[in-house]
Symmetry: C2
Subunit: 350 residues, 2 copies
């Protein structure tokens, strides 16, 4: 089959690789219906994370079960969403809703704990370990699913669940004021999540007109283009000088985190989900103002069923973060578009 391999910063290629097989009785093989490029894929692509040897890449996909091991209860042909890590569903962290800390789980595109390759998502098919725990089944949908719905289901693999995690950990309550730092797909899904939780005011920090438009469609009531001191000042002005009840940090840089913490009111909470790169948390400021920092790598599996159902019911259309669709053959172009911010998010179809 064809699958994406990252060789070095800026060097992503679609290559011929072995077809995945069921290796363990808990495995399933899923034929990918759609996958995408994640903001976090850009860290190695941009050289921020070292690529020591060529490796498979991609961790967001939806597809159809093609083959199952003896212990897997999913039927062939079942449409599924794959969260961005695989997890057993039965250990203590999984049962407490932190599947990203699964005692048996791991990530896509590398070896599992027995040394067998787990394919990356940006390919034609994937061996899915711990399929019962990992996959979120979607009934009433097959590979011919309408593109809008497909896009929204695909966001449940990562960005929608991640935005939801930010809003959940920030503790957004009905009527509160929420600032969202970051206008990538996760930030936009954070806006949508804040709206779903009943936020009264949602301030999106964005300086890109197309992203601002999606933010407004998702529920942003205000947009702030300024950053740094001016950005903090702008948020203060919108909140009677006090800051926001909740802030969602959806970037991962030091500047974004500082922006987030400084935008929170005394006693407020920053829900953060951006992979940290160079963040030094200002503990004295946090302490003095009682600003909490909650979050981490999003256990999107925990939210799989609820978000799937909201999508299927038509309550939310997070798929609108996809502003480009490309064939898998053009995966290198998809990376370029994401890297240059020419696209918010690109869906890839094998």
């Amino acid at each position: 089959m064809r699958a994406t391999v990252i060789h070095a910063a800026g060097d992503v290629r679609l290559e011929q690789v072995p077809d995945p097989q069921v290796v363990l009785p808990t495995d399933a093989v899923v034929r990918v219906v759609a996958s995408c490029v994640c903001g976090s894929d850009l860290w190695p692509y941009r050289g921020a994370n070292e690529v020591t040897e060529p490796r498979r890449i991609g961790h967001e996909f939806v597809g159809v079960v093609e083959e199952t091991g003896d212990d897997v209860q999913l039927r062939r042909g079942q449409f599924v969403v794959a969260p961005f890590v695989w997890s057993c569903g039965g250990c203590a962290p999984c049962r407490s809703g932190v599947q990203t800390s699964c005692e048996r789980g791991g990530g896509w595109g590398g070896p599992d704990r027995d040394g067998h390759l787990v394919d990356g998502g940006q390919g034609e098919a994937v061996r899915v370990p711990r399929a019962n725990g990992t996959l979120v089944p979607v009934d009433g949908v097959d590979e011919d699913v309408e593109e809008g719905l497909l896009k929204s289901l695909l966001t449940c693999s990562d960005v929608m669940g991640t935005g939801w995690h930010a809003a959940t950990r920030a503790g957004v309550q009905e009527g509160e004021t929420v600032v969202v730092v970051g206008d990538g797909a996760v930030g936009l899904c954070g806006v949508l999540s804040a709206r779903m939780k009943g936020a009264g005011r949602i301030i999106a920090m964005s300086r890109h007109a197309p992203r601002q438009a999606v933010a407004r469609e998702f529920g942003a009531t205000d947009v702030v283009e300024a950053r740094g001191d001016e950005g903090v000042q702008a948020v203060r002005e919108l909140t009677d000088g006090r800051g926001a009840d909740r802030v969602l940090e959806c970037v991962g840089t030091h500047d974004a985190m500082l922006q987030a913490i400084r935008s929170a009111r005394p006693g407020g909470t920053v829900g953060y989900v951006g992979v940290p790169h160079g963040i030094e948390l200002p503990i004295e400021l946090m302490f003095r103002r009682n600003v909490n920092v909650a979050g981490g790598v999003a256990p999107v599996r925990a939210y799989g069923e609820a978000l799937r159902d909201a999508v299927l019911a038509g309550d939310i259309e997070p798929g609108k973060v996809f502003d480009a669709v490309m064939p898998l053959d053009d995966v290198a172009e998809a990376y370029t578009a994401m890297d240059e911010r020419a696209a918010i998010k690109v869906m890839l179809r094998p």
Copy 2:
């Protein structure tokens, strides 16, 4: 009157100072019935915080209202608890329960926002600004209150409210496992708070027998003496290898915070209240394991009525953290005893 002045590290003196007066209509003058030395008073005493000029010290006291400004609704003779900061009670942060960020408030022992001195608590009397907002009235008690009850009421001024804040921000739920880092008065009150919130298991980290005894009396089910890697390992062993649901960090040093974060299970929360000194938060570890850090300088005023009522009802006896009582004249000795950890906490009586 006599009041305590810190001149430099290690140099604390009881001196003659002017009697406090009502200056503003929102002031009250409170005659101190009891005060105490705080762990945070030891930071300047030990030279960790610079003392640039002699200044009043002490921020925990209970007493009796002696004089009131025209806007003050407290009656003369009213017994009151003074939280460790004064606050208006009416601004947005006060109304949201973060009185430590009061827009009109401040600390004891320095000038108010109009430049008038606010006395420190380790003295015979104190000018209390914003008395309506600041003071917690205690009915049915006067200056002749029995010593055990007096001690418990005095803890509502700081350590009990601070331990309660740690447990509250950590989000302790019924049946959960809680680790408490720090066996000072705040840590011990954290143990008590965890018990009040229904924790199923409370692991106190302490290597001092008298403090361990109080911790057990307050509800600790386990005591861990080890620190660092061994301490983390000991907590893991007590929790099936997983870590605690909630951790209360009641010290403020880097080692204590790291101990706390490493003791938490994936998805757990550290409630921290120790004044941070040299803490660098391990954001990558927090992110990977979804360990939240919540807390800050405790708005004990927010908890004043509830904790007062629990004390008056006899539900809790946090006053047991006081293992020494000294006359105010011996304030320098009280500092020495605290500094050398010869006493957990010293009550001072003018």
